[in-house]
Symmetry: C2
């Protein structure tokens, strides 16, 4: 769950430096180690993640002490309370994180799956197999527990990782990484597969490691993600905005629609899959808002409406800026629309292609909405808060992506693998097919 959508925006964008020779050497070492890891068996990678969990348990005291030192420094420096809360790692939180590492070990292997199997001709057989990406570059803000999660996901899926935690979590991250590497040292996986970057310069230069890093995973504020997307040619798994909508159609079951709206906004307002804008069909706007305004008020939600919504009782005004804003807070903008097409046009203009829902009992309207909204998730009569890798049944969530190309939406372990074609022949050459001496069979074989 990406629950970090509400942290502060860095003031000025720093320049991205060229990687230092030292960073290039360390990244190349991670890549070499990751190539070997990519050839480890499922059992070896599972055992390695289990060993990481054991080492974390054994080092618990040291990790908690390091975290206390980070917390003391944070207090001295006057770190914002929200950041301090995310930085804090007590015995219970650490225990939960270690349990999470064990759960990652138990996930089904994403590597070595045969996705395609075709006989091109007698004795010439093509396979497409899932393989690790290679090396992940992971950039966190605070949250030392995320280091354990992402490191275990990386190793489980056969990938190395360059990890950069927040500066305020340096001691915690170092202690955690030392434990993880000690765990790997007694496994078939080289400790070099995980490397901690410590300076801000290094985390910026990471964005320039094309060819050594295959995927960047940012875990932090929208501003962090946007900065990274704008400053790297490496693919980025993440999303800058989560501007999600619920459209209450004229054929909606209004009490059900209200329950969905309340859940979508208030169940965890800081989450990227919470709604920011409610679109209400003109024909039911009066009836719906009569019930919704007091219900949202009771839930502590500030409503901001367009002129029609205000005429129907919404106290505060909403304008163009509101439609573009991810509040990540107990604020909801409300717009009354004339019909489905106006709702679709609003979502196309202001949405971030994350998750958008409709409440309706009309099948044709539902089908049109589900076909026409070009978002990673399109929902009918349920809360947008279901947009989550765990809730989708993936067993893990690497992130939620709002890019167009796959992986899109909530991404599980399969977002950390790619594929490779393997062709086995018996001396087959292409000129025999060009000349017509041989012909392709293209016969599908069982997967």
């Amino acid at each position: 769950m990406t629950d970090t959508a509400c942290s502060a925006t860095p003031s000025t964008a720093p320049a991205v430096p060229e990687p230092s020779a030292d960073l290039l050497l360390r990244a190349a070492a991670v890549r070499r180690a990751a190539m070997a890891l990519g050839q480890c068996s499922d059992a070896e990678r599972c055992a390695a993640v289990q060993a990481m969990a054991r080492a974390l348990e054994e080092d618990a005291a040291a990790i908690l002490a390091a975290n206390r030192a980070d917390l003391e420094a944070a207090e001295t420096e006057g770190l914002a309370p929200a950041l301090v809360a995310r930085l804090r790692l007590d015995a219970a939180k650490l225990g939960g994180a270690i349990e999470g590492v064990r759960q990652v070990a138990a996930l089904p292997d994403p590597v070595g799956r045969r996705q395609l199997h075709t006989e091109l001709d007698a004795g010439l057989v093509l396979e497409r197999l899932s393989v690790p990406l290679g090396v992940l570059g992971v950039i966190f803000e605070a949250r030392p527990d995320a280091v354990m999660q992402i490191a275990s996901l990386a190793i489980r899926s056969g990938n190395g990782a360059l990890l950069k935690g927040g500066r305020e979590a340096t001691r915690s991250c170092s202690a955690i990484l030392a434990a993880l590497q000690r765990g790997l040292a007694v496994s078939a996986v080289a400790p070099d597969c995980l490397e901690l970057l410590t300076s801000r310069q290094e985390s910026l230069a990471l964005l320039r490691l094309d060819g050594l890093v295959d995927l960047i995973i940012p875990r932090g504020s929208n501003a962090l993600v946007r900065f990274i997307q704008d400053n790297t040619r490496i693919p980025v798994l993440g999303h800058a905005d989560g501007i999600c909508h619920l459209f209450v159609d004229r054929a909606a079951d209004l009490p059900q629609a209200l329950a969905i709206a309340l859940d979508s906004k208030t169940q965890y307002p800081a989450a990227c899959n919470a709604i920011e804008t409610l679109l209400v069909h003109r024909e039911v706007a009066a009836a719906f808002l009569a019930a919704a305004i007091p219900a949202f008020q009771a839930a502590g939600v500030e409503l901001r409406g367009d002129a029609t919504a205000q005429a129907l009782g919404v106290a505060l005004p909403a304008g163009d800026e509101d439609w573009r804003t991810e509040y990540s807070d107990l604020v909801l903008s409300v717009k009354v629309v004339g019909d489905l097409e106006e709702a679709l046009a609003h979502i196309a203009t202001y949405g971030s292609r994350h998750t958008d829902a409709i409440a309706t009992t009309d099948a044709a309207t539902a089908d049109r909405f589900l076909a026409a909204v070009d978002s990673a998730g399109v929902y009918l009569n349920c809360s947008t808060r279901f947009a989550d890798g765990f809730r989708y049944g993936f067993g893990a969530e690497v992130g939620i992506s709002t890019q167009t190309l796959p992986p899109r939406g909530p991404v599980g372990l399969e977002g950390l693998v790619t594929y490779r074609y393997r062709l086995r022949g018996e001396g087959h050459i292409a000129s025999d097919y060009a000349s017509g001496a041989r012909r392709f069979s293209h016969r599908p074989l069982p997967l």
Copy 2:
């Protein structure tokens, strides 16, 4: 798209201008039309492509006349003979291209495939469905026939396209596009789904149309592809380099290995899947090269070798620059290696992760090579020339990608679609699961 670690960007590259208001409007119009196209049925899209083929036939005389005018201008301007050859469109070539359009219409629909189907809870059902990407940006050098191919692939897969042909093919491309749009006009698909860009400024500004264009497909020289990759945040389907290797192992069937080497180099040396470097195991180098040197000589191939290869009869020297070079010509570099690991290290250092092959009869060596080489295609005992969408049985080839993330390798129609999650509920809200009042079933349903 990240072939080389941290290579310097050429500073002489032309500046990429901001899109003009006119271009933004036209691109937005294509996007709107494409959104409607994305909701057309399989039958409607097939019929539209058939209508495109018919219109091309009807306009054949006008298209050939436009091409003759382009050719006359090219002669006046002294265009290179290779470019003139690619520009030329005679009746036979046009007929072949129209036949290709009809074949695209007959391809299986890539849209609407259910890739995942899970009951999250009673009445709450998740699907993952393939959907069109949206709008393709296609940049060609010369080759007016490619416009017909890519336009039909775009429409077949439910995508709009902004097409930019080479300046020297302007008249041909305009005539072709007029025919294609006339065909669409009598179909369910809006002619606005296809738009021709005509100026160089527009083709550069296309690279800045993030949010309006979902995928860039470059069809041209390595330099063109690299420039595009370096100057856009839009994903690029393509490859800058095709530096492919064949490793002749000590356990190779030497006559078979030689046949594979000759085919891989000479069957079409300008292709990206032709080999550029032959790696030969020391123990068989003398025997292999004794047969290979005269065979390559007879085929008109210039061999360049390292010191050991030269000592064994290769006439010309090869150095570091050779290992990095895609000759795209009848030139082959030869290196003698001490063992499999040295071959793997060479490929990891100099390869472009396109397609690499081994010739061996030793199963363990084959398995190690196929697991350790991190390229889109890894081959055993067959020619690298099989790396091709048609030869793989995809029915079409959009391009070959050497990026790490999917789509990778030869890409068929599936490279022009992405997916969307669709969740249908009956008033389900997330807080019921957070509270424990309800539990997820995560029950797989039939695809």
